[in-house]
Symmetry: C2
Amino acid sequence: MKREKDVFIFMITELTKKQIAEIKSLYTKHGRKKSPFCVVEGVRACEEIFNRCRNLIEYVVISGDYHGRSNVPTDVKSFIVKNSLFNALAGTVSSQGILAIVKVPEENIQVVKDDFIVALDRIGDPGNFGTICRTVKSANLNHLWYTKGSVDPYNDKVIRSAMAAQFLLNLREFENLEELRKEAVRQGFNNICLSKPASGSSCFTTGGIYDKSIMVIGSEGQGVSDLSGAIDIKIPMPGNFESLNAAQAATILIFEYVRRKEANLKL
Amino acid sequence: MKREKDVFIFMITELTKKQIAEIKSLYTKHGRKKSPFCVVEGVRACEEIFNRCRNLIEYVVISGDYHGRSNVPTDVKSFIVKNSLFNALAGTVSSQGILAIVKVPEENIQVVKDDFIVALDRIGDPGNFGTICRTVKSANLNHLWYTKGSVDPYNDKVIRSAMAAQFLLNLREFENLEELRKEAVRQGFNNICLSKPASGSSCFTTGGIYDKSIMVIGSEGQGVSDLSGAIDIKIPMPGNFESLNAAQAATILIFEYVRRKEANLKL
């Protein structure tokens, strides 16, 4: 792409058959396992990647009728393809004419400086996992830990729900909650709180649950795994209806932290 | 269906062609408009209907390999169909072998006795609308108001996300926020709060926002409509990321009410 008098001229280059097959494979679990890449779809998610982790972009694919071309950074390799090919590649009708092939960040064993860590235990629903990534980032937290049995965080659906927030977080996978706790304790996070639908102390009135603590949210179907010595935390639900969706429960627990932090209350 | 020695014997009766066509049409906007019914899919949502509003059920359709037959009340008309027909009827692979054809409740102009009312302004996403229904019910609130331009609350996807909570709420549709406010004021709800992503007073520290108030949540794309004299309310978002998903924002605002209520704080 070169810039001429403020008008962007794209080089019309063809995707190779190999690239087409690669993109398609990234929509499958098996394909992602064999590849260092993942696929990021949609205008807002791609813009997050352009703005915050451009170095991870391998290339961008744009459909012929996509109108936001000028927002694609000039140093990013772009392919414009026919609408029919784009639609055959994209995972949804709401892919909005742009997708990026992006390197999956390597797991990064960092010292956690945040006040608390959100951990997900076997969250299998892509929408829930993605929404929680986005909510964690909104709360200015930088880490998200999860156990095996959770959905792949670089699944295209998870990326779409997260608006690509997972690229801005330090994600770490653990074999199970026992292994996760070992690492937590090693880093000085001694309280492990488990979010329970019906038992435990109220998240709104229990002190210390955000002070060098881990808050574990389990899957909707199975709940959180057992873990001896953990603190059960419950969200008061006066309506006595079905337990909340996992992403809603996580949001309440995360923003109770924000509330305490903003008001300079004891975490 | 008759009961013999604690074993349920289902009458194998065939769905008529007309019924098959009716069920299929309920998955479309056009079809729902012409029909007094809607379709409720899945075990948990159907159980809510069995337990809480059985009088609304027209009939139930069960796939041949569905194992929870004994949970279907004996006084409910049931059809067992071949798996292939069931799968052709159901909207998702996760329909779990059971769906119910249910009367859409009539709009009920009730005096609102709750402390506050959640209102949705042009929420088009079925998952968001449904999740918010479920969260409103969890908070022991009984009303949900919404403006034209929102998704049909009896769309099958909305029902699935809500776990059928909309059947337990008083839903009311208004032409726009001005009309909604007129009715609110008539009922003594004089404060209209608009959830804004970047401006306004903090939901965590502003008094009076749950005391005979309306809290309006807008669509993710467009935000809340303008309304003069309304109070802008913001959720503090220290992470400076994209604004929260509409359902997450609603959840935070609704459970801040629960928190204040549980602690006997000023609403």
